[in-house]
Symmetry: C2
Subunit: 266 residues, 2 copies
DNA sequence: GCTTGACCCTCCCCTTACGTCAGGCCGCAG
DNA sequence: CTGCGGCCTGACGTAAGGGGAGGGTCAAGC
């Protein structure tokens, strides 16, 4: 009667190092030692080990296991209930994460049809911010405009993206010129830039009536990640996002004031 | 344009130490430093931080995040899929654990009606092995005999348990005497002890026809934790569990050979 | 009696993603 | 000039062991 560390380890499915660890921390010290100092585990030790592994599998920290096993009065039931509550919380948390991951995959998979190399070639510095895209997907996936925009984006090929990006770059240049020249955000030149942005969205993604455009503007002003898709951080200036947003609002008001607007096709 | 660590930390919901950590490991180094050596984070740094936090929330290790962000060619989609697969595995694992925990709670709650103090008083050294009891519950909860045994156990009060344990202690003394005297496991004395065990089970837990008793015997021989409930480790001898099991099998055969048996009531 | 190989021992450092000091510099208000 | 809050670096600690160095022990074969 007396097993060595190796035997116990093989038999219980743990490593020798684990048994050493449990010995050193006092969680499970073998009943005796051989004259040479070898650990000798008895049946009682094995029984205790089994208890330990049971609680360990349930994810209890070793210290708490020690408490539970220390005195049989210990409130094992309470510990178990608490543990189960936390297990359920953890499950719920992981389920939320899995959902986010799924949306992120969805965004990556359908968002752009390009290969990673093409994507890099076309987008360059403007890296696709997955965290924002995923959040946007979770926020707007029930909106028809969003779905159409994504579907059309998925349909674009490399050449489409190149043209689209060139257009956007030219627009950015004009925007920065107007902003740096001190043009007012509700002035004509800024409103014209906003209108150009609207037509850009309409042509490449989805028709963009005033209300839709206002929602876009609000998001640009509220979330730097959204604005970064429009103007890369290296070209930004303080107040630029708010400026663009204000211009879009002004342009939306102008268009509404101009009366009913038979959306002309591009 | 340039935020200090404290500002970024407050604003992004992380601690200053976290930003220091990301800086040292190279995951996120601020664009510049003030003359005095203060970290100055720019908008591009904030954008990167947001990316980092997104992947971190999904449970990616920081090193993997660094790889994903290092070059935009990186296969973010592949990483995400892999991550989601592991999230699902983890969810399944936790669900199994929650089930085990629930069974363990069930065992503790209904198994014995005593308070922790009473339980200690009555059971003393023979500590209730939750890992075995839970496994037994998962294995046998569909058996009618098991359910009856648990229900009757739950009905016993402190006095019942005391009498029951006293009976068991006397039985153990006889068992050890027979075993130490070298009585054969299939001899009359051992079979009588097995029969006594059977009547004990019948009286306190559930009627125990030969087949049921054989299953109990097999479990006693196979699982040291089961046997420990019958004979505490301190009183065990090598081969004792097998001896008891064999005696029960012999007794079952004897009873069956004796012909149909109108189970007398106790 | 000697060697070999498997097994055992005790330190001791390493891991993740930071938390928590300790000791000292920087910048601004009174 | 003194405080005070914020910043810096550096070092140690965490949970549950992993991995290895350096050295002792055991059983078997020669």
């Amino acid at each position: 009667m007396g097993y060595t560390v190796g035997q116990v380890a093989a038999f219980a499915g743990v490593t020798v190092r684990t048994l050493h660890h449990y010995d050193r921390t006092g969680l499970l010290s073998p009943g005796e030692r051989s004259p040479a100092g070898y650990r000798r585990y008895g049946d009682a030790d094995l029984a205790r080990l089994q208890q330990i592994l049971f609680y360990r599998e349930l994810g209890f920290p070793l210290e708490e296991i020690a408490v539970i096993l220390r005195d049989p009065h210990a409130d094992a039931l309470g510990h178990l209930r608490e543990r189960q509550r936390r297990l359920r919380e953890e499950i719920a948390r992981l389920e939320r994460l899995a959902e986010v991951a799924e949306q992120a995959i969805e965004v990556q998979r359908t968002g752009v049809r390009l290969s990673p190399e093409e994507r890099f070639e076309v987008f360059g510095e403007i890296s696709f911010d997955l965290s924002y895209a995923t959040e946007a997907q979770l926020k707007w996936r029930d909106s028809a405009a969003y779905r159409e925009a994504m579907a059309r984006a998925a349909g674009h090929g490399k050449e489409d993206w190149r043209r689209l990006m060139a257009e956007a770059a030219a627009w950015r240049t004009s925007l920065l010129a107007a902003f740096d020249a001190g043009e007012p955000a509700d002035g004509e030149r800024a409103m014209d830039l906003a209108e150009e942005h609207r037509r850009h969205l309409t042509r490449w993604f989805t028709p963009c009536p005033p209300d839709t455009h206002r929602r876009v503007a609000d998001d640009l002003a509220a979330d730097p990640r959204a604005f970064a898709l429009l103007v890369p951080p290296s070209q930004q200036r303080p107040g630029l996002a708010a400026y663009v947003s204000k211009a879009i609002h002004a342009n939306a008001a102008r268009r509404e004031a101009a009366g009913p607007d038979p959306e002309e096709q591009p």
